[in-house]
């Protein structure tokens, strides 16, 4: 088991390395750098000015070297600009032209330095921490609504396959899971928040929920994400439940006169929940996907919104930070799902 976890962690590191390198490579293509220079400097820079701007700030080194510096395995650049200023990656502008004595010239992710966001003018680590916390809040409420809701629907539908309850609940599940967030979000706003329909039960903007989430301002974004995942998990639960309900031991229990209620709650449920557990864990990466859309629609400034801003403005270091966090979330949830699966189902052995 320990070896298995170690191996998974190794895979995680390798994936993170590969993915960040791809992102790094793409954001460092020369048109993107030119755009960056013009945003940072000014829009009317000549090509020569763009080149000296980029050179002076270390952007024109070979990609692999820059990547090493971002990681913190190769020493940060020290470049004397054409204007005579000596700039360094780790210590900013150097007045004397020399690096400070006795300090290592390494400042990358490994040293805990995530870099500086060119859009938000702040430390990447700080931005990601703030924004991730906000998305965490959203996720928490989504999970709280989605998981119990999906399990109840799935179990109710699956305990009597083909019944009227099953048909109607299945229809609802298919409908919600077939409706992407960018459709359901807009429909919800139109129906429940705008003057167009006139219900105005909830807010169509979740900006105030960043500080103080209430039923009124947080319901729509939470429901938009939750409904999408809910249908999917409910379908899996139902399938698993119907399978269990046709198993031999359930039939035996029924023949022995155990009440239907006890059969479902005591005998079927535990076995039926193994499959949904994996699905629920795999929903995390999906949710990360959904928050990008939902946070943009509802103006909730979390992790997904940050990703959109970083990508739209070619904010290299912020985008890399976002990628690392995403890789981490995806792989950790997968690892947890594998481990949890083993504990839930003793029949599975990891070779």
């Amino acid at each position: 088991m320990g070896l298995f976890i170690l191996r998974r962690l190794g895979v995680m590191l390798l994936t993170a390395l590969c993915l960040t390198f791809i992102v790094f490579f793409l954001t460092n293509l020369s048109p993107n750098l030119e755009k960056l220079a013009k945003t940072q400097g000014n829009f009317r820079m000549t090509d020569a000015q763009v080149e000296s701007f980029l050179r002076d700030r270390g952007y024109l080194q070979p990609t692999i070297v820059k990547y090493g510096q971002w990681l913190g395995v190769t020493p940060g650049w020290v470049i004397e600009g054409r204007d005579g200023t000596v700039r360094s990656k780790c210590f900013g502008e150097l007045e004397t032209g020399d690096l400070p004595e006795g300090e290592t010239n390494l400042c990358g992710v490994l040293q805990g330095n995530w870099g500086y966001s060119t859009v938000f003018r702040d430390d990447v680590g700080e931005i990601i921490a703030t924004r991730l916390a906000l998305t965490g809040k959203l996720m928490f409420w989504v999970m709280l609504v989605m998981v119990p809701g999906a399990l109840v629907i799935g179990v109710l539908a699956g305990m009597r396959e083909g019944s009227r309850t099953d048909r109607s609940l299945s229809t609802v599940s298919i409908l919600t899971t077939a409706t992407p967030e960018y459709v359901s979000g807009v429909v919800f706003i139109a129906v429940f928040a705008s003057s167009a329909v006139g219900l105005r039960w909830f807010n169509g903007s979740a900006t105030s929920a960043m500080e103080q989430a209430t039923f009124v301002n947080f319901t729509l974004p939470v429901m938009t994400i939750a409904l999408y995942g809910m249908g999917y998990i409910a379908r899996m639960t139902r399938a698993s439940m119907t399978e269990v309900m046709t198993a031999q031991y359930i039939r035996t229990a029924r023949l022995k006169g155990v009440s239907f209620r006890n059969i479902v709650l005591k005998h079927a449920l535990r076995n039926a929940l193994i499959a949904p557990f994996t699905v629920i864990m795999l929903q995390f990466p999906w949710l990360l996907n959904g928050v990008v859309i939902v946070e943009t629609i509802f103006n909730y400034k979390g992790f997904g919104w940050t990703l959109v801003q970083a990508a739209g403005n070619n904010d290299i270091e912020l985008l890399l930070g976002v990628s690392v966090v995403s890789v981490f979330v995806v792989l950790v949830t997968q690892l947890l799902s594998d481990i949890g699966y083993v504990y839930l189902n003793p029949r599975i052995r990891i070779s």
């Binding site: 945003t39 400097g41 301002n217 103006n299 801003q309 403005n313």
Partner: protein, 557 residues
Amino acid sequence: MIRQTLTGGPVHPAARIHARDALAGKLDRREFMARTTALGLTAAGASALIGLSAPALAQSAAAPRRGGTLRMQMEVRQLKDPRTFDWSEMAWVASGWLEYLVEYNNDGSFTPMLLESWEVSDDAMHYTLNVRPGVSWNDGTPFTAEDVAFNIRNWCQRDAEGNSMAGRFAVIIDDATGEAMDGAIEVVDDLTVRLNLPAPDITLIAGMGDYPACIVPQDYDPADILSTQKGTGPYLNVEHAIGVRSVLVRNEDHDWWGYAAGKGAWLDRIEFIDYGQDPVSWLAAAEAGEVDLVYESVGDFIDLFDALGWTRREVVSGATIVIRPNQLAEVDGMRPYADKRVRQALVKAVDNTVCLDLGYAARGVPADNHHVAPIHPEYAEVPRLPHDPAAALALLEEAGMADFEFELVSIDDDWRRNTTDAVAAQLRDAGFSVTRSVIPGSTFWNNWTTFPFSSTNWNHRPLGTQILGLAYRSGEPWNEFGFASDDFDSLLAEANAIADADARREVMARLQAILVEEGVTIQPYWRSLYRHHRPEVVGADMHIAYMPRLYRFGFAG
């Protein structure tokens, strides 16, 4: 007895001429106010000259109560050196603690702020600026003539990157050094600055009222104005998260001069909340009760905000949109728009009234492609090139560009996108081959001046010569047209040297004619500007030039 001039001195002779013109109906009231107050008259004094009682000042009958938190929808952008501001929104935040020398009013007049008064000599070559006594910086040091002189010198640094104030003060910039000329800015005493111009220029007071003209302290840090926040204004910024929100709170330790002068600064706290560039989000925020007013309401959303029961504020302005080719831009290795015939073809193919109807729901008046508005004092009636799609196509064929694929870029928003779509549709109807690119606001402004063919919105400015100087003079940072003409530049310099607007109009007519003839841009209409706020908000009139006047904002008592 009302005081006729700000200084109490004699009335500038040109003011009496203007008064005669106004009474004879040659000048409308807005133009009259703009011209005479720029010559140093008080608004009341100017009104008296044409026999009107002192205008009711823009303060509403119900005085706001002191206190309260106002939440406003507004984009929160990165702050930078004020003289390089390229967004009014930057000035909105900075105006919490940085104030202006003068204030431009919706009726076209100018009110003194950090100046107590000013006088312009008859030949418009000497300005006497009288600094308001009793004003102090928020660290307690007094605000003096030296501070004013420093700011003007600072504006005159032509080589400072992105400094658009240099365009407004070009007349006193020494071409050799790129700085203010020796002797041009003279500190007479602690409260008096005299500007000695080598040539007449009538736009300087107006320039001081524009949004990048915030008055900064002499020891300010251009790279980070948020760090010290030394200023003369009543508020301080406590949070500035780009793209998220910015918060101003009352600076309790500072005895703002405006309290004694009855200016207000009613609110305790002002929050600017960023809802992106999509008006749908602004409306959602309004419906959700998350904001009390919006920065601006546009297009179809004006009716939607009306339907919410919010108060509508409207002002007719010289704000506009240009759909322009960039003459220097290269597409596939050639410069398609360097050819005058191509530009003229574009202009001729478009009916400006259609753009106004489809793009801005007819909330404005059609324009004539020369970017000088009827409300500018020196406006001359110059007709556009006639709308003639057949002739347009013929011109295009003559230029050998009939099969050129025009790519027309716009920002992804409501009215700018719709207007640009209307232009594209008319070009297609005329037989041009056009593709449309719609770019999100987050990236559009990264290179707005260099798109080969795109649309840009322009704010209103008090004088027609100002806008021509900023946007059309050769080599200006905001010259997005790639337009460079020696004739134009020298005529503009000539216009700037004529204090009398009627005399200036003759030169102006030639300038406007050059812009029309060269097909520099499609400039289809003048917009009315709107803002909506909750009924209990007062003092939040829409401003003709988007200027922040936060001290007026408050809640009804």
